[in-house]
Symmetry: C2
Subunit: 337 residues, 2 copies
DNA sequence: TTGTAAGCGTTATCAC
DNA sequence: GTGATAACGCTTACAA
């Protein structure tokens, strides 16, 4: 059996000083005579001392730890955000708890509770699927919260939101399709509880209304945000109505799925049918035809979320980060400029 | 300012019992009279008591927390594994620190150190890029380790390895291509320090040797495991040597990149050129032509890794999990059966 | 069945 | 500059 790792007091004993001196040296805090500092450092290295952050956290009430809560880390949109969060956390000396909730509000609640119990300094919550009341309750457990793509009616100084302007993104996309004389534009929407899906739906309807186009409810379908669901849903739609000439998809996974369905139906893209997605996942650029898409700077958003929490920790400094992100239109073959 | 959250002793005071009684109730441990239990629970709920796991961890020397260390969470192979780990962790009441190291051994070392300081109960380390000496040193910081796709010369009872049989996977793939009379088989290999890439290279060479095929060093190219690198490298290869008639790729991202390059060169797949990849990422099934691939049960591997750590914690020692995984051949259009 | 006391490894506070 | 002592919130071990 290996013996327990050395503690502050082990080092202190061996160095012939008090624990506080060792603590000061380790944390570079307070005054310590250079010689004793050297000596302590030498002993610490000798015995292989490592600070115990659990003990430190208990004493300081700071865990240098945050939680990142996402619907599904295998979705490229969220894994990019996660990368941004984690990279920034690494720079700042933080660690990140990753939690998936699989579009399941109950699991979302569970993981939030467990993160609170682990005393995280804050959380980044993406695309919450809880209703406002539940959500407000859950978030009360935390000192600092950054919400990505979800706004709370009664914001507080502990809760910041980073908003993606999905409403205007969808509106822009539909107007682009209309300018190409598209007549039957289908919306492959996302999960029913998704705030983002809701905004995109509103944008889609707003564009149609603005141009006095009648809206057929059959043209909106909800899907889980996966390629396979996009393909299946699109196949079904094309079977019922071969006159569809454009698709706006909740995300690129759905858009690509739809495109694969079109290929099977012999629909030529973009001549016979145009497709626009959201997110600009890596694949969208490489596939042929390339997917036209609306996107946000995902890594940057993750990084900003982490920075905001970090700043909130240290008594709200300036917080001069962008809080809302306009979609960027990227034109590729599936719906050219 | 919100007041601090209530502690065990707050609850004890208000309930008129000792801290230990409350502790017993909260943890369902030891004997407590049903009536007092009810009463304590009621008070706890009233004041909104939540256990502080930092304090608990310090007392028990268990953090119910593990670290998951991967090269890059945006790679679908690792995000699937991460999903498996996290799902199982959720079931077992654990939380998971996610760390990327971006193929950078120094960062890998850093994150391992920080995880040790956070007192994780164990780590799951995927595709380490450290050399054996460094690695052995880093792993010494942990009580329990599961290595995915990396074996240590001197294994210990604290370190378990889950091995993917990439050698035989590559060998099988090449033999399959040879059975189709392919003459010039290119290997798009992975990062130079990758254990997995090394094994696949050995398998590739072994198959050629077994069938007395001369090996041309120009036919092995190292790539970073991304679609774009696959496409660029394949373009370059085809430019130099249009007689290439088969590709074995380190992973499906590279395979798909290679396929896109072939399409640009007008190479007909699979008639003129066959492609085989590894990992069976979701896209490989959906794209046309589908990518033939060798795969492992990624979520299951993640789940098993977490279970192993959990069992090691409780000296359960049954540990009757599979430790080595044979690749499963999935035939699609890019290299039919 | 319940309570008391010590201790987990660190930092805050205040004295020297 | 340095050190003693009391927290931090919980559990372990033992006593009642």
């Amino acid at each position: 059996m290996k013996k327990n790792s050395p503690t502050l007091s082990d080092v202190a004993l061996k160095a012939g000083v008090s624990m506080m001196t060792v603590s000061r040296v380790i944390n570079n805090k307070g005054k310590v005579k250079p010689e004793t500092r050297e000596h302590v450092l030498k002993i610490a290295a000798e015995v292989g001392y490592r600070p115990n952050y659990i003990a430190r956290s208990l004493a300081t009430k700071r865990s240098t730890t945050i939680g990142l809560v996402v619907p599904d880390i295998t979705n490229p949109f969220f894994s990019e955000i996660a990368k941004g969060v984690e990279d920034e956390a690494y720079r700042l000396g933080y660690n990140v708890f990753l939690c998936n909730f699989d579009e399941n509000p109950e699991r979302e609640f569970d993981v939030l509770t467990s993160l609170a119990e682990k005393q995280v300094d804050g959380i980044v919550l993406c695309s919450s699927r809880q209703n406002n009341k539940q959500l407000y309750h859950s978030l009360g457990l935390f000192k600092h919260v950054v919400l990505i793509n979800r706004q709370l009616p009664a914001p507080s100084h502990t809760i910041q939101s980073l908003i993606l302007d999905d409403f205007n993104g969808a509106k822009l996309a539909v107007e682009h399709l209309l300018s190409h004389k598209r007549k039957r534009i289908v919306l492959l929407s996302g999960p029913k509880q998704s705030h983002s899906a809701f905004q995109k739906e509103k944008g889609y309807l707003a564009a149609l209304k603005k141009h006095n186009i009648a809206h057929d409810p059959e043209q909106i379908k909800h899907c889980s945000p996966t390629m396979i669901c996009g393909k299946d849903t699109m196949s079904m739609l094309l079977k019922n109505d071969p006159t569809i000439d454009a698709v706006l998809a909740f995300n690129d996974l759905l858009a690509i799925g739809a495109m694969l369905a079109c290929q099977e139906f012999g629909k030529i893209i973009p001549q016979e049918l145009e497709i626009i997605g959201f997110d600009d996942i890596p694949l969208s650029k490489l596939i042929i035809p390339g997917i036209t898409t609306l996107t946000y700077p995902k890594k940057e958003i993750g990084s900003i979320a982490m920075k905001i929490i970090y700043q909130m920790m240290d008594q709200d400094i300036s917080l001069d980060f962008p809080k809302t992100f306009a979609p960027q239109f990227i034109f590729r073959q599936s719906s050219p400029k």
